[in-house]
Symmetry: C2
Subunit: 307 residues, 2 copies
């Protein structure tokens, strides 16, 4: 049995396709008597009607599809995998509640298949933690007017809206939570170098007191240099690595991956509820519903909520 179309319903309800379309879409300023309305709804149910979104997209010139562009890497750190999957999960939920469908695609710098943005007429795209040098790849595949929102990246390109933590605020909270004044910091190695710099400067500490996580060897060396100090460490998994070389009591962990349970009880911790997905989503909805009124700033700073 073939899929029912508007035409089938029209025939069954003995009206025209136009009327069916009006009823099924609840078109305003079309007054349809309850009688016909019912007949149509009835027929639609009977025939198990499901709209064909490709056809709709074609005429509406918008797809109802939102893209999530993720980095593609063969081997990713655990924290990165977790962050991404949490982000994707939350965005997917928010978007689908609003009737959008989510297309997932990945950025492979060596073979960027970004045509999807224009081929599928994506209504908007979320991008996560992108290297500076890859931004032009994206922007070149971008049809003017499509909202592009970057999460976890700093980039000086006005095409992109940027959603990041308010790191100043987060550090202030972490410093307050710490027993002793922290005198070093260990942070995640984001792909986006601008973000790493931004985090560093937000901390207020000298760059020499900041370690960007690369591998266990260099982490170990850094910790040994700072044997007698206390510090702040961003992200649970980096903390786990650090605990091999340092006493938990000497570190305050900023839990940003939502799994503070994996770190030892002895460690001071401050858990953050990541509102970036929600903020990014709201921004997207604003841009989608009101394409003309662009927000003042291209940057959004999300306060990490201590919980």
């Amino acid at each position: 049995m073939k899929k029912a179309t508007l035409k089938d319903i029209a025939k069954a309800a003995e009206v025209s396709v136009a009327t069916v379309s009006y009823v099924l879409n609840n078109v305003a300023n079309q007054t349809i008597p309850d009688d016909t309305k019912c007949r149509i709804l009835e027929a639609a149910k009977q025939l198990n009607y499901v709209p064909n979104l490709a056809a709709r997209s074609l005429v509406m010139q918008k797809s109802g599809l939102i893209g999530i562009l993720i980095n593609r890497a063969e081997l990713e750190e655990l924290w990165r995998q977790l962050r991404y999957s949490q982000l994707i999960n939350r965005l997917e939920r928010l978007l689908s509640d609003r009737g959008y469908h989510v297309v997932l695609f990945s950025l492979d710098a060596s073979d960027p298949k970004l045509d999807i943005i224009s081929e599928r007429k994506l209504d908007g795209v979320f991008v996560v933690d992108v290297k500076e040098e890859n931004f032009h790849l994206i922007s070149s595949h971008f049809s003017a007017g499509v909202p592009l929102i970057v999460i976890d990246s700093i980039i000086d390109d006005s095409l992109f809206y940027k959603v990041n933590y308010d790191y100043k605020d987060a550090f202030a909270k972490a410093f307050t939570a710490s027993q002793h004044q922290p005198n070093f910091i260990i942070i995640d190695s984001f792909n986006n170098a601008g973000l790493v710099n931004h985090i560093c400067s937000s901390s207020g500490l000298d760059r020499s007191l900041i370690h960007v996580m690369q591998d266990e060897q260099t982490l170990k060396a850094f910790l040994e240099q700072n044997k007698n100090n206390t510090g702040i460490i961003l992200n649970e998994f980096v903390a786990i690595s650090a605990y091999k070389y340092v006493d938990p009591s000497r570190l305050t962990v900023m839990c940003t991956t939502g799994c503070s349970e994996i770190i030892p009880a002895a460690a001071t911790r401050i858990s953050f509820d990541d509102r970036k997905p929600e903020e990014a989503f709201h921004l997207m909805m604003r841009l989608l519903e009101n394409p003309t009124a662009r927000p003042e700033s291209k940057y959004i700073q999300v306060k990490a909520i201590n919980n």
Copy 2:
């Protein structure tokens, strides 16, 4: 500037839309002289042509879209999050290399928005670890003929193709790798009860010697009951929890989440390379390319590769 269409190219190259379509799609059995071919390709490049896949879908009656249906849960165990994200990553890569686009959507049993399958005319759908009672939700939204492949689930419904580990084989390997003959097993709590049963029976052990991970309390109790025994534990994260109550040397860990580095050095481990995504993908391609020749069995057992 508006998006170029076939018509624009036709005008520019002074041919008809049909010819343009033939050239751009490399249609076989249409012999186009290199001359015109070049003119068309040239014009296409010039105008920055990108095909409109909605239009194509409409006429081809297939979307080029593959769905990945994931479970939606507010709070998910780490191992589950990681598994899903690894699976999604690998599927996405394989699919996009074949020119398919990936639509991500989630199953919320209380509000299943599965119309997407027929609305978007998905060419195929992957589903992961689904509760038995939710299968009918899915199958009812499924237009006959669309390949449905379930990973990590056992379900007695011939609509679905099933891809799972060959647990018998995996256990055999783990038993061999263990120092002492293991006399208990601790396994993940999959959503799909059928799978849990299948794993249990594949182990060859009595059900009383098998613990299905729920929470740390019951895990602890189980471990205390088996104080003097050695056992096998599925999945790194469950192992981490177990190590709070048991000596690492007494457990053999089957590393199925690809992060054996997080478990203590003292533990015996056997790492598995999960080929389920690849196998599921190949099955999907087979079904897509040859919709008539259905494989003999609805079940595929993937051997875990010890690495």
